[in-house]
Amino acid sequence: MRDLIKMVVVLTVICACSALVLSFANQATREQREYQVLKYVKEPSIKAVLTGYDNDPIKDRVTLKMGTDKKGKPIRKNIFPAKKGGKVIALAYGSAATGYHGLIEVMVGIDINGKITGVSIMTHTETPGLGARVVEPAFTGQFKGLVLSDALKVKKDGGKIDSVSGATFSSRGVVTAVRQALESFSKIKKEVIS
Amino acid sequence: MSEYLLLLVSAVFVNNIILARYLGNCPFLGVSNRLDTAVGMSMAVVFVITLASAATWIVQTYVLTPFDLEYLQTIAFILIIATLVQLVEMFLQKSIPTLYRALGIFLPLITTNCAVLGVAVLAIQNEYGFVKTIFFAFVSSVGYGLALILLTGIRERLNVAPIPVHLKGTSIGLITVGLLALAFLGFAGMVH
């Protein structure tokens, strides 16, 4: 009987100590881990849409709560500010819309006047050779300098953007994502620069 | 349906867990000397991997993720596997003693088989649902068994062949596995 008690006690103590140490380690490294994941996953896109800054947009990121998802959990969005001399000159953040095959995630860079500084496709599942060609600079470069207006649409819908030939849905998807990013810009700008 | 067929082909041939993913090596070379032990090990592996993956999926989905405890995945999974193997051992010893004796020492040894933990973690990483996870675990372990039986067949022949003394044993075993892996590499183009 004493043996059984000893076994249970020893195992419980070991497990408890382990749980304590691990939970401490988790807390201590959480920030750094988030930073690393963001850096390696998002940095290329962020670098592609922002220019002329002297800070680390990922380190200076601002996390905003924007609405709730289906399960009622708040959706957290990372906004990456580009600064020069301490002042914010542009913001970069992600947006997504359905293309032809699925969700297309884009990173959009917008300067403080609401002008697009760059668009970069982060993930997509479009058809290779057709819809997938939206990632090419020939397509994404068209968005530079545009603002939220009727020009920011594909040519078929009366705008200035040349869609990728044979991939109207994919092109429209990117346009929708970019427009959505611009639509929330003033609200995001207010919260970040405050 | 075609998804599952694709998964089957992928797990058994293209991404064979031992020949392509390097999981489950330790016992691989130790057990592949005789055909009957190889078959016994294969059955045990299929059984444990499938059960373990189901159990770990349930814990991941209903305990680890909702409580933000994902960093405890490794320790939780290995404890589940160790406990599962222990329970299976006790159950078989009481209910199906012949099977228990046939599997022998391989059953407890499976706890440290990287393939078990590996397949469980892979299923989570690939974000499979419950049914897909069980299917994936089953076919992956079948692929392992297949490779094991193939290797054993070859090694049994090698045992009676003239081999330079320094190559005998593990050394030639590894080279054989390498050639087997090379053959399976030919399947790489099958699944896009």
Binding site: D3, K6, V10, L11, I14, C15, S18, V21, L22, A25, N26, T29, Q32, R33, Q36, V37, K39, Y40 | A20, R21, Y22, L23, G24, N25, C26, F28, L29, Y71, L72, Q73, T74, I75, F77, I78, L79, A82, T112, N113, C114, V116, L117, G118, V121, L122, Q125, V165, H166, L167, T170, S171, I172, G173, L174, I175, V177, G178, L179, A181, L182, L185
Partner: protein, 201 residues
Amino acid sequence: MSVAREFTKGLWDEIPPFRLVLGLCPTLAVTTAAQNGMGMGLATTFVLLGSNVLISLLRNVIPKKVRIAAYIVVIASFVVIVELSMQAYFYPLYKVLGIFIPLIVVNCIILGRAEAFASKNKLLPSIADGLGIGLGFTLSLTFLGAVRELIGAGTLFGRYVMWESFEPLSIMVKAPGAFVCLGLILCLMNWIGAMQKRRQG
């Protein structure tokens, strides 16, 4: 055996995975480049050292019947610490080693040393044992990684070192190359071992 001897045995006589044929899974998987082999070796050494220390300290406290379970909890805890640390401070290496970092927990070397040594020896020899075997493992992995990287990609630690017209044998960085390479190195070590024995007469 003296403490120094406990340390050096891990560097040749009982070097894993060649002499002490354990820990094969990661050996084959991560040795696609010297750097990766070294990274994995050091991570494993950290876990091995930590678990040896703790298990040696607790060897008279843990009841025999539950020792395996206790060892697993200790080892797994160190593995999680390594996982978190690598994800935070060595992210590129963490991505490359991938699934094999959590698999350190089932690396037979660690459980093997815990059961065969740390649970029966005092603290200092256990530290020496863990350090020696861990470093031996790191050496093996780095060596195997270097061979595969050199022949399979023409680089060493990421730097291009082979001559201009060298055509890499890329099969070396894939699964078949790993197995064959390890098999040949093992053969070589058997041969060296036999020569040593003959010399000692």
